[in-house]
């Protein structure tokens, strides 16, 4: 087992942790954190698995760079939305908002 594969497996673990957090946490910021963990896990799988046999591979590395930028864009936008939502409603979660629109 190469260290790359080990990191890929760590990525799998992060995916599991992130997914559990994403599903179970209500607080929007915490879900956002979980999303970022999940994303990191996916990136690790992508690079680790690809590099397991052939050594450093710039293609998945470039993909992960792209992925990171997309993730920060989404995260930053989410933070803006969350803060504004909190500002207007005083809520930090989407659960039981009771405005009748389920």
């Amino acid at each position: 087992m190469s260290p790359d594969l080990l990191y890929a497996l760590a990525g799998v673990g992060l995916c599991g942790i992130g997914l559990a957090g994403f599903l179970l946490l209500d607080h929007l910021l915490r879900r956002l954190l979980a999303f970022n963990l999940l994303g990191s896990g996916v990136f690790l799988v992508l690079v680790g698995l690809a590099q397991h046999r052939g050594g450093p591979d710039p293609v998945p590395q470039a993909l992960v760079l792209t992925g990171i930028v997309v993730a920060i864009a989404a995260t930053a936008l989410a933070i803006v939305l969350i803060r504004r939502y909190f500002h207007l409603t005083g809520r930090t979660s989407l659960a039981d908002a009771g405005d009748g629109q389920s």
């Binding site: 994403f22 994303g39 690809a50 293609v59 939305l81 504004r84 939502y85 389920s102």
Partner: protein, 487 residues
Amino acid sequence: MAGLLFTPLAWAALSLLLDFRRGRWLSWLGMLIQVLVSLSLWFAVAGGGGFFYALAGWEAPLGIALRVDGLAVSFVLLTAAVATACGVHAGVYLDPGKSWQRYFWPLFWFLWAGLNGVWLGADLFNLYVGLELISLAAVGLVALGGEAAALRAALRYLFAALLGSLAYLLGVALLYGQFGTLSLTGIAGVVGATEPAAALALLLMLAGLALKTALFPLHGWLPPAHGIAKSPVSALLSGLVVKASFYIAARLWLELGDRLGSQLLAQGLGALGAAAVLWGSWRAFRQPYLKQVVAYSSVAQIGYLFLLFPLTYAVAEPVSRLAQQGITLQVISHALAKAAMFLAAGNLILSVRSKRVDALGGVSHFLPFSLFSFGLAGVSLMGMPPTGGFAAKWLLLQASLASGQWWWIAVLLLGGVLAAAYVFRIYRASFLEDSVSDDFYHPPKTLEAIPMILALLALGLGLVAEPVLSVLALPFEVAAGVTAVQP
């Protein structure tokens, strides 16, 4: 030629620098050009067959290639038609006085660019970026204006979309790790019959895409987002955006499903689709708000799409083709009809100044045109002849019969009846003349004309289904293998 399809990106960049009114003129010009370009590309492909287009001069797998075939260009054309309708409508409908409306146009164009990217995409990672582009633009459009309810819907939508994208990306990671390429055709060429890792990858990707397509029971985010957004935005989202993720799922399934799928997965997805049809229709019937009715109707109509999976798995080739044609028609007719319905609903809401269904009493008196458009679109959703919805339903019925999967027949027929139930509920409300008030606002003629045109297109699709399908089914093999760099 294919390069011109990226000009939406250029319109996006330019319109960001302008305010709403100037952006409107620019965008209307852009739409005209876009429609013309899409048309000419469509005719080019209809005449000369499909081809691969290698971007940046690097061919797959090193570079990214676009797959320009009959199906893709038809969807490009569909996008041009629906998005133009929504864009023209939005230009009149939205209130230019609000400073944030200026961001409508760039978001709109980015959305369009993302859609085109997905239709033409043949590279798994590129499809991921395209999906994210669409999702973020859509979220931005929903949130535009920043009311609390809109923000809430946008956040829900954003989280669902992000989770779906990551599930898809995880699948891509597994596939790349195993096969060392991102090109879908490349993977389809080397994948074997028993590959548990690849099968899990396909499952993950389908699950993520199903979440983004709002397949029951993952549909919770759709009705608030589509119900709360401004009507032209809702029309875009329901008509086109959810189709993008489904399109990728379908392409994956048709390329890899025969080896990586299983009967259980196929029937399971079909069953979820069936549940979506029934549950979505029922919920639509119960909604007190007009746009919520239309939004839940989308959940139901999306359900039909997932019948693709059981009807193409382990069936004879002609049956599979029938199913594919039926689903394609369903995508197109739903895009046209649902866009028409949302735009017409917007007009009705504007006219009675209330979002409630029971406020529509007497509207048939004063706004027959918009109501008629709504009705015509509803006819297509019900799957009544001669609309495109009927043509789709007919083909799916035939595919179900021919494959011996008779249980889907019940879904198709019952779904039509349920759709009639929620559509006729709206008619009923609008025909009631008990409490006729004269206090109706008359929207401009443009607003009334656009949904009518879309609804008529959905209607006419059924009559010309055969020629349309013949272009969709263009033998891609003509140019496949020869990665022709486009002339």
